[in-house]
């Protein structure tokens, strides 16, 4: 039953994604590829839409995947699933256990989870990079580099570097998405 699967999958994602939207991307990728909901390219498209529309990235991604798998009801189930753990945990902390996060054991667990989240994001980015730009999917699977893609990536990196020097801040995600869209139209 697709509605229950959507709800439970996003409930699981919502319950363990510490550290905001980007942390959720590795879980989303894992689940969406497993269930066959999205291909790697579709996943990247969804992230782009989630980044360039207002609101929390996690909610945007849940709504989009839910809608494409199960229409309006599907998107409601997925969104409810991703939000529910946060809502309940925060209520618990605000109402009953204001000291929960100051407990030594909880803090120690969070100290273990934080670097793990960073590792998951980095590994996900590197895997996506290897697949999309170099065509490497498995050991011994051969290499088929996408030269235009590599060029776009290099141009984006150069742009972000120059922008950071010039304005003393990072370019916004939307600006990066707009530039990469322009480069895609020109070069592909």
């Amino acid at each position: 039953m697709i509605y229950l699967t959507l709800f439970l999958t996003f409930l699981e994602i919502g319950a363990v994604s510490f550290g905001g939207g980007y942390a959720m991307i590795s879980m989303m990728r894992d689940k969406a590829l497993l269930h066959g909901w999205l291909t790697e390219e579709q996943l990247l498209n969804v992230i782009a839409v989630a980044e360039s529309t207002p609101g929390p990235i996690a909610v945007n991604m849940a709504t989009f995947v839910g809608a494409s798998e199960g229409g309006l009801l599907g998107s409601l189930c997925a969104t409810l699933g991703v939000v529910l753990p946060s809502f309940l945990i925060i209520l618990l902390i605000a109402a009953v256990l204001p000291g929960l996060l100051r407990k030594g054991g909880v803090r120690a667990a969070l100290q273990g989870i934080r670097p793990c989240t960073v590792g998951l994001i980095l590994a996900t980015a590197i895997t996506m990079l290897m697949r999309s730009l170099f065509g490497i999917t498995a050991i011994g699977g051969g290499v088929s580099p996408d030269l235009v893609g590599i060029l776009i990536f290099a141009l984006l990196a150069a742009f972000a570097f120059l922008f950071a020097r010039w304005k003393a801040k990072k370019p916004s995600p939307i600006l990066i998405i707009l530039i990469s869209a322009g480069l895609g139209m020109l070069l592909y």
Binding site: G14, A15, N45, T53, S75, G104, G112, C116, S180, G184
Partner: protein
């Protein structure tokens, strides 16, 4: 009326924040601390710390907390619904015609570029978080082990749920703490 006020304020914040939770924090501060004075600066910083250390979207955590502090369960519910509603409507509308939109050649080309831009964004977010990570032996070990094992398993096409990584890392952190506590107690008895 306070409930309506909470709902509308959070809808406004949901509608005007692009780029996820951290962008929202600046807007929340301007709206709730400076303008509406619903929270003091100190309460606000507490709220941010709690939102960051609990699972789930930071924006949802923040909205639930503020709503509850302001007027209990109903406040929390309205604040959360408010912050989600604009996204939900916009994304649902986009999802209806997204495939048709992608079938245009020029749009498809743009999205091939965008896919690379998104990978770039994820990688830079990861690098930024890497720089902000405290360099203790434990955190460096967990970080390195996570990256290496995830890359190795994905190259070998072995499936290992990312959820398990989080659970293992949390367990390792908590167990080391318990061992340290037990050791201290042992030394105290001597």
């Amino acid at each position: 009326m306070i409930y309506l006020n909470i709902l509308l304020t959070m809808m406004k914040i949901g509608l005007f924040t692009f780029g996820g939770g951290y962008a929202m924090i600046a807007l929340l501060e301007a709206e709730l601390v400076t303008k509406k004075k619903w929270l003091t600066r100190e309460e606000f910083l507490d709220m941010v710390a709690i939102s960051e250390s609990t699972p789930g979207p930071i924006a949802i955590n923040a909205a639930t907390y503020i709503g509850y502090k302001r007027c209990g369960f109903l406040g929390a519910l309205l604040a959360t619904v408010g912050v989600i509603l604009p996204s939900f409507v916009i994304i649902y509308a986009i999802s209806l015609f997204f495939d048709a939109f992608l079938s245009l050649t020029l749009v498809a080309k743009a999205f091939r570029g965008i896919q690379i831009g998104v990978i770039f964004l994820i990688l830079s977010a990861g690098i930024k978080m890497l720089r902000g990570t405290k360099r203790t032996p434990l955190s460096l070990f967990i970080l390195g082990a996570t990256v290496l094992s995830m890359l190795a398993l994905s190259l070998l096409a072995v499936r290992f749920s990312t959820v398990l990584y989080i659970l293992i890392a949390g367990t390792v952190g908590a167990s080391l703490y318990l061992i340290r506590c037990a050791q201290k107690r042992g030394e105290g008895e001597k």
